[in-house]
């Protein structure tokens, strides 16, 4: 396993574009801290985002994992291209001839994806912890370490999304087209949802129940948008008389759905590679 990771590491290490994207990704995560310095005046009051409680434990786990997850696109580009470049450089063929089995090949890519997710998760955890410790109103130990399941969900979400990217890279073989395909997939899912929600199952939540099984939707369901949870937004909504009733917590079956998709993507990648003549 270490051998496979080593092989993959060598391939990435010398690729300048991959290095730049990976670096950008991690730098951007640390830039979440910059949100703290955003302030703008509303009337006489200086409105500071950091004072709105976004950096309070345990809310910060939710908020940061949501924001950081939007950055995953940078790594997605790296992953799609590290897969499809093997096709366009024909190095996949050479790797197999040199004695790597197809299983090992997929495994080496998947392990790399896992490492990306693990490192991102640890990184996010540390950044959030530091931010929280400097801005949070509550610093009791038990509060700090509550709601950590958002971090777990973030990890599962990343792994699932990256496995999807791997699969697309193998399926489409061209990085630009694979990313385009990802976008099209997203649109298709959205259209599907819209049709179900507004045409077929109006006035009920059946549409949501179906759509939660779709790959991209299941991943985005894991960490829902945190903004409507903010005090300011909540109280504003209350005044308008339309209080939100939204479930922000993470359920085991949501994690399970994404894990199942991850398995499907990794296995299909393998099956596809096995079936193909190179």
């Amino acid at each position: 396993m270490l051998r496979l990771l080593n092989i993959e590491f060598l391939k990435l290490r010398y690729s300048r574009s991959s290095k730049i994207l990976i670096l950008t990704y991690f730098i951007l995560i640390t830039f979440i801290a910059l949100i703290a310095s955003i302030e703008f005046p509303i009337g006489q009051v200086n409105f500071r985002i950091a004072d709105q409680g976004i950096f309070n434990f345990p809310f910060i786990w939710h908020f940061n994992s949501y924001i950081a997850a939007t950055l995953k696109l940078f790594l997605a580009i790296v992953i799609v291209s590290m897969m499809s470049n093997e096709y366009s450089n024909r190095t996949l063929k050479q790797n197999l001839i040199d004695g790597l089995s197809k299983k090992e090949f997929i495994l080496s890519k998947f392990i790399t994806v896992m490492v990306f997710s693990i490192v991102s998760t640890i990184f996010l955890f540390l950044v959030s912890l530091i931010l929280g410790l400097s801005f949070s109103d509550y610093n009791e130990f038990s509060i700090i370490f509550s709601d950590l399941d958002y971090i777990l969900a973030y990890f599962v979400k990343l792994t699932g999304f990256f496995a999807f990217c791997l699969f697309l890279g193998i399926l489409v073989k061209r990085s630009a087209f694979a990313l385009g395909f990802l976008f099209i997939w997203w649109i298709v899912e959205s259209i599907f949802y819209a049709v179900l929600r507004w045409r077929i199952f109006r006035e009920s939540d059946i549409a949501d129940k179906i759509v939660q099984f779709f790959p991209l939707e299941s991943m985005s369901n894991l960490v829902k948008e945190p903004f409507s949870r903010l005090n300011a937004v909540q109280s504003a909504a209350n005044q308008l008389g339309s209080a939100f009733e939204k479930d922000y917590s993470i359920h085991w079956y949501q994690i399970l759905i994404v894990l199942v998709w991850t398995c499907i993507f990794v296995y299909s990648s393998y099956a596809l590679l096995k079936k193909r003549d190179l």
Partner: protein, 300 residues
């Protein structure tokens, strides 16, 4: 003899096309083999199947008596298919180090093999800056990294200039002289003739011949003769037990030899019968003629 690769009734079907049809042959240690066939005859497909990149339709192949899985066996094989495939953004040395990792070979081999193919001074240049000849030589270095039991080369001189072709052939000859088994696929006859001891000839995926290079057609060659009395010459030749078909080509009589015999034998025989020749020469078909003969047999 130790068998390195045995192929048994290997078949590959692409839709309606049979690319390789019931192909069987074995490769023994220490020989230099050529797979000869026109473009599109199934050479690369055959190699692709034994190298784990093309899925076979039916039949089987065994590496080293079949005791280990194909990808494990491939670690003891060095192979180059068509054109060299490396990571363009990595240097020659970095690319070879990666291959070392895959094959499980210590990294000190890299310099040693770069030396053999004459690329040591360019080891820190990126692969994408290499000329085709250099890329091909790098591919050979990469195939040699594990000191392979067998070296498989698919059209190694394709697209190279004469100098490049010469360099590659010299390298191949050097490797062969060390006793490494080589399997060389080519559509170039003289390449196979110059380098190989054994040959497998395929056409449209069907094996036409396999055996020693000299043994193609099991031919002993033919005589070209001329005498003043052409009719008597033909008659006497037809009576000779070791002569097969006799035919006329212009003024020359062509006599196919069926059993080994020399020019002096036929000269003595004809002289004893009272015929003196004005012209006599013993010839062997060139590999090219034999090859064309073989490949045409099935079209006729």
């Amino acid at each position: 003899m130790e068998t390195i690769l045995s192929i048994n009734k290997l078949t590959k079907v692409y839709g309606p096309l049979k690319a390789v049809d019931n192909l069987s042959f074995t490769i023994e240690k220490g020989n230099v083999y050529g797979i000869l066939g026109p473009n599109g005859s199934g050479k690369s497909t055959t190699l692709g199947m034994v190298l784990n990149v093309v899925n076979k339709t039916s039949g089987e192949f065994k590496w080293f008596n079949g005791t280990e899985s194909t990808h494990e066996a491939l670690k003891k094989v060095g192979a180059i298919i068509e054109h060299p495939n490396f990571y363009p953004y990595m240097t020659a040395a970095q690319n070879l180090k990666l291959v070392c990792k895959i094959k499980g070979v210590p990294e000190h081999k890299v310099e040693e093999k770069l030396e053999i193919v004459g690329l040591l001074d360019r080891k820190d240049s990126k692969f994408k800056t290499f000329s085709l000849g250099m890329k091909q030589r790098l591919a050979i270095a990469s195939a040699l990294l594990n000191d392979p039991e067998i070296l498989i080369l698919d059209e190694p001189t394709n697209g190279l200039d004469p100098q490049g072709i010469h360099q590659i052939r010299e390298i191949i000859r050097k490797i062969a002289s060390n006793g490494t088994t080589i399997l060389l696929a080519s559509h170039l006859l003289d390449e196979v003739e110059k380098v190989c001891s054994h040959v497998v000839i395929i056409r449209k995926g069907v094996k036409l011949y396999s055996g020693p290079v000299d043994g193609i057609n099991a031919s002993h060659g033919f005589f070209e003769l001329e005498a003043e009395n052409t009719e008597l010459l033909q008659q006497l030749l037809n009576e000779h037990p070791s002569i097969g078909k006799v035919s006329l080509k212009g003024n020359l009589v062509i006599a196919i030899i069926e059993e080994p015999m020399g020019a002096s034998d036929i000269n003595r025989y004809l002289f004893e019968k009272g015929l003196s020749l004005s012209y006599l020469i013993k010839r062997k078909e060139s590999l090219e003629e034999q090859f064309l003969q073989l490949t045409n047999q099935t079209t006729a």
